[in-house]
Amino acid sequence: MNRILAIIERDLRMFKRSPALIFASLMLPLVQLVVLGYAFGGNIKHLKVGVVDQDHGLEAVKLGNKLNAIEATAQTFTTQPYHDLHTALTDLRNGRLNGVINIPPNFTRDVLAQADPQIGLAVDNTDNFTAGTLESSLANLVNDYYKNGITPRVAPTIALQTVELYGYTPYIQYFLPAAIALSIFITAMIGGGIMYIDDKARGVHEGYLVTPIGKTELILGFTLSGAIKGVMAGVILMVFGTLIAGIPDPLDPWRLAKMFMVIVPTSIAFISMMFLMMVRTDDPLVPRSIFGVLNTLLFFPSGAIYPINAFPSWMHWIAIVDPFTYAIHGFKALLLKNTGFAAITGDITFLVVFSLIMMVSATALFRRTF
């Protein structure tokens, strides 16, 4: 019995004196509770909808008012006026809009003449959650078109013609961009976090520091070696993932090239973020214990598994500064919509600026001598 107690006592004493372990075992479930609790199934809000009014008639204004009413109350979407359909659809394809409402030229006349009036709704159905929300919201609007007002004797039924921009996106395809980003993140976490601190603890870095290597050279060396590993992981996941998930035309070289252009800054962003976190850390337990917390805190709010529009505002703020968000947005645009370069320039720009800030800060905090 004494021997058993000795083992228990030793383990509990060690546990008590490892703040990193206590932190990990308490923080992870708490963070998961809060983040995952809000990450699934919230009401999707503030979708961006372009409205193209080609009618300019009384009924179009009336429809506009009803859209504004939804915008003000349920807040499902915010509308943005467009002059021509082509620009609106281009923005939809490039991910700047979630849907486009088209009010055709003869809408008022058709309503008044009771000649099967129609409005069009184009949705980006690569995200089934947002597309579904928009469709049901507008279907309700059309159904209740005459509810609050004077109902004409013979009320014309307004038809909602929904156009889905893309083929059906199964969830495995929806999740693929997240899996690619995750592979890069894990490589960064292991290479840039755990192995980096282990090397430091073994005294390997001291071996570097007695050579004439500069601070910037060291940070660049660490970052680029980590980034290369991240790129390799991302590329492997991209190739096998597209084949497994059944993405159409999986080996399209131009798309692979564009994917590569997002994978590279994503890898640099993750690894440089990790270095900034580890630059003043010595305890090998720290990267191991924050692994889960960081993963939960950055992965789920990024829109990887559910649209950002459904999250509370604090999770929005995480999404805004989270490199995952931009990596996943870029991968989604390319894999699910096969968009052009214009759809990913914003993502690439963010990831590059983010990497630069991380690397400059890490270099500033890095201590060449003590």
Binding site: A201, T211, P212, D282, P284, T369
Partner: protein
């Protein structure tokens, strides 16, 4: 010009003074030993000389360059073997050296030749392509010595290079350091806990205690500097009354420590004291049962200057033990 000039150097960590106004110089071609109990400040001193720590005050010049003002010039002039073995275990001996040759900016055409020469010098040529994880502790240490010389430095710092090695490996490592020093015209600064090593190999040794330099000279002069340069351990058939005082009164005796029937006598003149001891024993009708005569060792010098109490100091460079992750360190 001296290769190392340490002038009035002090390093404080908060309120704790790890190194307190230490000054010494090391001439070109010298093997200089830095001795001291655990926590005495040896590693802090070495870390300041090798640009890892900035001194709180005072100055250090290595190869004519100030460690604070021109750290990179210092780094180019020195090879450093840290206490912890830091070779990458999954890489081969040659790969480990290759990486460091690049870190030091050794030109491509020279790299291969120097690595070959150095592996030959530390007798690891046959192991050049083998992963370091298959090496014994002594082999790893030899590899690190070769690694530290890959950029042909002038001055070589070794922090406890033989700690943890078996006696045969220790001898091999020291022979290698000695040979490399002669062949490559090196100045060597070494810390060690093994006094016999320091005695045999160092031209001069400095003893550091509580962050202060307490003694500095050649091993021979240091041994001569402490009272009693021989120690007699003698026991008698019986102990006559007043015998301790008789022994203390023998010529040149510095101190007598009785322990049961055995007397430990330190003397400045071993042969004379021995002769007089026999005479005194005969007069007192006591027979000498056993006698051993020892010369003063550097151990005695060390204990004389640093005292006998254990040093329980906080390690300011706490190393996290991650051996469970990587196996043997």
């Amino acid at each position: 010009m001296n290769d190392i000039e340490v002038e009035n150097i002090t390093k404080k960590f908060g309120d704790f003074t790890a190194v307190d106004a230490v000054s010494f110089t090391v001439a070109h071609g010298e093997v200089f030993g830095l001795l001291g109990p655990n926590g005495a400040g040896k590693s802090t001193l070495i870390r300041m000389m090798t640009t890892l720590l900035t001194p709180t005050s005072g100055s250090v010049r290595v190869n004519g360059f100030d460690v604070v003002e021109s750290p990179n010039e210092v780094r180019k002039s020195i090879g450093v073997i840290p206490q912890a073995m830091t070779s990458d275990l999954t890489l081969s001996a040659e790969e480990n050296m290759w990486i460091f040759a690049r870190l030091y900016g050794v030109p491509g055409e020279k790299r291969k030749r120097i690595i070959g020469e150095l592996l030959e010098a530390v007798q690891l040529s046959d192991w050049a392509k083998k992963p370091v994880r298959t090496f014994s502790g002594g082999m790893r240490r030899r590899l690190e010595i070769a690694r530290g010389l890959v950029h042909e430095p002038k001055i070589f710092f070794l922090d406890e290079p033989t700690t943890g090695l078996d006696p045969v490996s220790r001898v091999a490592v020291w022979e290698m350091i000695d040979r490399l020093k002669r062949e490559r015209d090196l100045t060597v600064l070494v810390t060690t806990h093994y006094m016999d090593e320091a005695d045999k190999l160092c031209n001069r040794v400095a003893i550091v205690d509580h962050g202060k330099l307490v003694a500095l000279d050649s091993p021979m002069k240091l041994k001569a500097s402490i009272p009693g340069n021989n120690t007699l351990e003698v026991s008698f058939s019986h102990v006559p009354p007043g015998w301790l005082d008789t022994l203390k009164g023998l010529p040149d005796v510095a101190a007598v420590t009785p322990s049961d029937n055995v007397f430990r006598i330190t003397t400045n003149n071993g042969p004379l004291t021995t002769v007089k001891l026999f005479e005194a024993a005969r007069e007192a009708h006591a027979e000498v049962a056993s006698l051993s005569v020892q010369s003063t060792t550097l151990d005695d010098v060390f204990v004389y200057y640093t005292g006998r109490q254990l040093r329980d100091a906080v390690d300011e460079h706490a190393v996290y033990d991650i051996s469970h992750i990587y196996g043997r360190r």
